[in-house]
């Protein structure tokens, strides 16, 4: 039985990684799960310099999900390499580093820094964070800017590039195609959805940032549709994510057209989720006599017209 998949040059031993920002830098959960069982570890977003992040409260629980506005708190490239890379470098599974910047040049510079570091599995271009004023989502919602960021990173590195798409666009197919044409090796679909919650007793927003990104099972059906639409538009592989908390959820993403999946918010409440998803995909394949997980990708059967 084959569970391995290719994301550009990146080989994953199984199609399950974790969503950036929900797994720290890998070491935190290594005390609770065997991270070497994952397909890849995806770490929290890194830009060139350290980022303090947003004021608190940064998260709020909502029905079947949560809002977050962390503000991409992080140690910067040098801090990451010093503090977190020694652990990640020793893992048997590849690391996908999520990167971002406030200018096209910064994205490229961060990509170059990780290119020369050596041993990185892939870079995920975060062009879709809803919680920062500069950078982030502005690059992911404008076709021309998106093309520029991807092309500049393509110039800067030979590492596989995964463009993490914003859900907040009228037509994801157009942006997906733009990322592919600019040299992206894969797409991650999707980031969190811009959202808001209010405490009716204090009449204040539940997040200090006022708005944040909605994640968790609440967004899954929307994410499934976005994966399905993006998959029809491009030939490059897609990592599907958005509210996955079981193998059934993951298989649904695969059928919609994803080659791999990422477990996100579920890590926060059940750290075993990613490993349970891997085991569950294997069970599903055995029960349905599927010898290669890649057969599931895009296997949704649409009604005949």
């Amino acid at each position: 039985m084959n569970l391995s998949v290719q994301i550009g040059k990146l080989r994953m031993q199984n199609p399950v990684t974790v969503a950036s920002g929900t797994f720290g830098y890998g070491a935190e959960y290594a005390r609770l799960i065997d991270v070497n069982q994952l397909g890849a570890v995806t770490v929290k977003g890194i830009r060139l310099n350290p980022v303090p992040g947003n004021p608190i409260p940064r998260t709020a629980e909502v029905t079947s999900g949560m809002l977050n506005a962390i503000g991409l708190q992080g140690p910067g490239v040098d801090g990451f390499i010093k503090k977190y890379w020694p652990f990640l470098r020793e893992l048997k599974v590849p690391t996908i580093i999520n990167i971002w910047g406030t200018t096209v040049e910064e994205y490229a510079e961060v990509a170059r820094r990780f290119d020369v570091l050596g041993g990185v599995g892939a870079l995920e271009l975060n062009v879709s964070c809803p919680n920062i004023k500069e950078g982030g989502a502005q690059f992911g919602t404008d076709c021309k800017l998106l093309s520029q960021v991807v092309a500049a990173c393509r110039q800067a590195t030979t590492l596989p590039l995964i463009t993490k798409m914003s859900p907040n666009v009228p037509n994801i197919a157009v942006l997906a195609k733009a990322a592919e044409d600019a040299g992206s090796d894969a797409l991650a679909v999707t980031n969190s959805f811009p959202a808001m919650a209010i405490d009716i007793h204090t009449r204040k927003p539940k997040l200090a940032n006022v708005t944040g990104g909605l994640t968790g099972p609440a967004i899954k059906p929307i994410a499934i549709k976005l994966v399905w639409e993006a998959a029809k538009a491009v030939k490059i592989p897609i990592i599907g994510m958005g509210g996955i908390q079981s193998a059934d959820d993951a298989i649904e993403f695969l059928m919609a057209g994803a080659t791999a999946v990422a477990v996100g918010t579920a890590n926060f409440y059940e750290p075993q989720t990613a490993l349970q998803v891997i085991a569950g995909i294997r069970d599903f394949m055995e029960r349905n006599k599927i010898s290669d997980v890649r057969e599931i990708t895009g296997s949704v059967q649409l009604p005949q017209k």
Partner: protein
């Protein structure tokens, strides 16, 4: 830290909306230090997904307990769970209080409401007996007096409505004790758990009287293990400050490290 599915062995109403929950967790219990917490997933909740952090109250040979107040969606579902039902816990988490050394400081514990739960294990494991100061709005909010008395600790209560102990905040009897102490002030140490304004007031008293103080900070928490960066507070770092995770670097801090925010 361990993640375990644990069984409820006892679940009783303490007073009004306060409950005592005892969980069988044989390999977790021996690891627990005073001031640490358990991150609990209330399994019957299907649409409210996140774990809830609770200070660990008492520890038995193969059990630990929490003392909680029914304050919202999670604790409401929890309060209706019965003996024999299961919860998922990740515990013990965080850096707890520094237990005084034999012959060392005399601990003065300061608790607000169910913050009292976090102080019991510290009192029990401290070689020197001190005084526990506890504050609450009403008589019913003063918890665990008997538990502390049973281990030989003096309890001084204060209530805002004056229905029990002194009238006013917990800092009233605390300040009186520090000012008139028969104990030598240079050998006192404050330990506190409660609402943020109370912690800030205790921090101020520690500063004014040049006493060491350890404060257990309570922030909105999500993952509990350091990945999500939700539960951060501002902590002094050189001439500036940095955000630290109360779940991982905390929840207990030296009061002098904390950068107090303007009251919310």
């Amino acid at each position: 830290m361990l993640e375990r599915t644990v069984t409820i062995v006892s679940h009783e109403r303490d007073a009004e909306s306060y409950f005592r929950l005892v969980l069988k967790a044989p390999d977790v219990a021996p690891l627990i230090q005073p001031g640490q917490f358990a991150h609990v997933r209330i399994l019957p909740m299907k649409d409210a997904l996140l774990r809830r952090p609770f200070s660990i109250f008492q520890v038995g040979k193969d059990t630990f307990s929490i003392l909680y107040k029914n304050v919202g969606k999670g604790t409401d579902v929890l309060s209706r769970m019965r003996v024999g039902e299961e919860l998922s816990v990740i515990a013990p988490l965080g850096n707890g209080f520094t237990v005084p050394k034999p012959g060392g400081e005399t601990p003065l514990l300061v608790a607000g409401g169910y913050g009292m739960a976090a102080m019991f294990l510290l009192a029990q494991r401290s070689p020197q007996k001190g005084i526990v100061f506890v504050g609450g709005r009403r008589r019913v909010d003063i918890l665990c007096e008997k538990d502390f008395a049973a281990i030989g600790w003096e309890v001084r209560a204060a209530t805002e409505d004056g229905s029990h102990g002194e009238k006013g905040f917990v800092t009233v009897p605390l300040l009186a004790e520090i000012k008139n102490s028969k104990l030598k002030t240079q050998n006192l140490k404050l330990f506190a758990c409660g609402p943020t304004p109370m912690l800030k007031a205790v921090g101020k008293i520690a500063e004014d009287f040049n006493l060491p103080a350890e404060l257990s900070m309570d922030e909105h928490m999500c993952c509990g293990v350091g990945t999500c960066l939700a539960c951060v507070i501002k902590v002094k770092a050189g001439d500036s400050w940095e955000y630290q995770r109360t779940c991982t670097e905390g929840p207990v801090y030296d009061s002098r490290e904390i950068v107090w925010e303007v009251a919310k």
